[in-house]
Amino acid sequence: MSHHSSTETDPTTTGHSQERNIVVRFSWILLTGLLATQGVKAVEPPQLDALKQKFHRPASIPFPKDNPYTDAKADLGYTLFFDPRLSGANTMSCANCHNPALGWKDGLGHGVGHDAKQLGRATPTILNLAWAELLMWDGRSGGLEDQATGPIESAGEMNQPMPELLAELAEIPGYRKMFREAFGRDEITKERLSQAIATFERTLVSNKAPFDRWIEGDETAISESAKRGFVAFNGKGNCAACHSDWRFTDDGFHDIGLKSDDIGRGAQVPDVQSLQHAFKTPTLRNIDQRAPYMHDGSLANLREVVVHYDTGFVERPSLSPEMHHLGLTEQEVVDLIEFMHTLTSRDDKISIPVLPTKEQVTWTR
């Protein structure tokens, strides 16, 4: 048996001719093979236990060395996140689109920006982003600090020129106090604004879900159907090829064959075929709170999502090699959906902050 790796580089565009050898190796993924053909009862406990280990939650939230966590910074970020004065018209806060009541998105197929105009893609959730790398559906943002001010300044979204915003915030005594407490100085800068919002966003972590209790040993935490769904998710459904790790995302970019002219990551990396029509894998944590689905909001519910992966995708050169026609039975579709419901946690309630105003000379929280 022999087959080639393929290259995505145009060999005619360069001046150096080289050779490349590819040694094909046989690779048997025993567990995956078993899961592809057998149900949960047929999978031996050690194999199932090994699989569960891949989805254990981390013990703590990672914060970057150059923007470490402090209560004051997170509190400032929380206040800024809910403040509509961050938009040019003073009508839209970050929470307008990233609504905690709607899974930190907006329940819409496409986001809505400045002047109530529809945006080109769905609003992604901001849940569990402390572990993410390259943000936005097309990965154009390097991290939370970079992303935080993007929508504020975007003319189509919050439409707020940064110099105006910084001046506006500096006129508010309460904000000057909060920036001083967070950064040691009153001066309000774009960098500090983004660091504060990013710090708050890193604290948005989903709580333990029934699935977590199951992999910790509580066999009653999820149904037998959901357990079969977990096996199908990792086996026949091949969902875990991309929806991996405890957040159920690889933070990767894949063309999953949606019928759309939007080339996603391909606009950022135009020379790589597999990144054309590719979009960032979203987390599946609390996924049943975030319909409609996909970057274009084109799938109304989880059943439509499963059917898409089974038979609904467009075949084209950029299609992810992880996409296959699955041949799922109706019971397997039901089991997969049942399993995804077990990923939803009852999260801590988020209250809306009282915002500082210009009239408040003394701002206390």
């Binding site: 995505e8 580089t9 060999p11 993924i29 933070d251």
Partner: protein, 108 residues
């Protein structure tokens, strides 16, 4: 063993060799992670990248001069060898899975 002729986008970077020379290092890709965070090799030595994962990866190199070289699609079970002729620091990433990254120091 099949041989494919390619052209490299970056001066000083040679992709793959056809001889039976032993690689100075072998890097496994498993669970969407490189087996090493960093390795050091001498100029002219080669490094073998083995896809021990069950998903496809797309290796790209950022040269000491800052140029990006996309991308070698590597399916499960395949391996690719790179020769590093230019002294300096390279960054290796998977374009499909950006969290996969490692560095290579090439010394004289």
């Amino acid at each position: 063993m099949d041989k494919i002729t390619l052209r490299a986008a970056c001066a000083g970077l040679v992709i793959g060799i056809s001889t039976a020379a032993v690689a100075a290092a072998t890097i496994s890709q498993k669970d969407k992670t490189f087996s090493e965070e960093s390795v050091t090799v001498k100029a002219g030595e080669k490094i073998k990248f083995v896809n021990d994962d069950n998903v496809t990866h797309n290796l790209t190199l950022k040269t000491p001069g800052g140029k990006m070289k996309p991308g070698v699609l590597e399916k499960p079970g395949e391996e690719t060898e790179f020769v590093f002729d230019e002294v300096g620091s390279y960054e290796v990433r998977c374009l499909i899975h950006p969290k996969m990254k490692m560095s290579i120091e090439v010394v004289k």
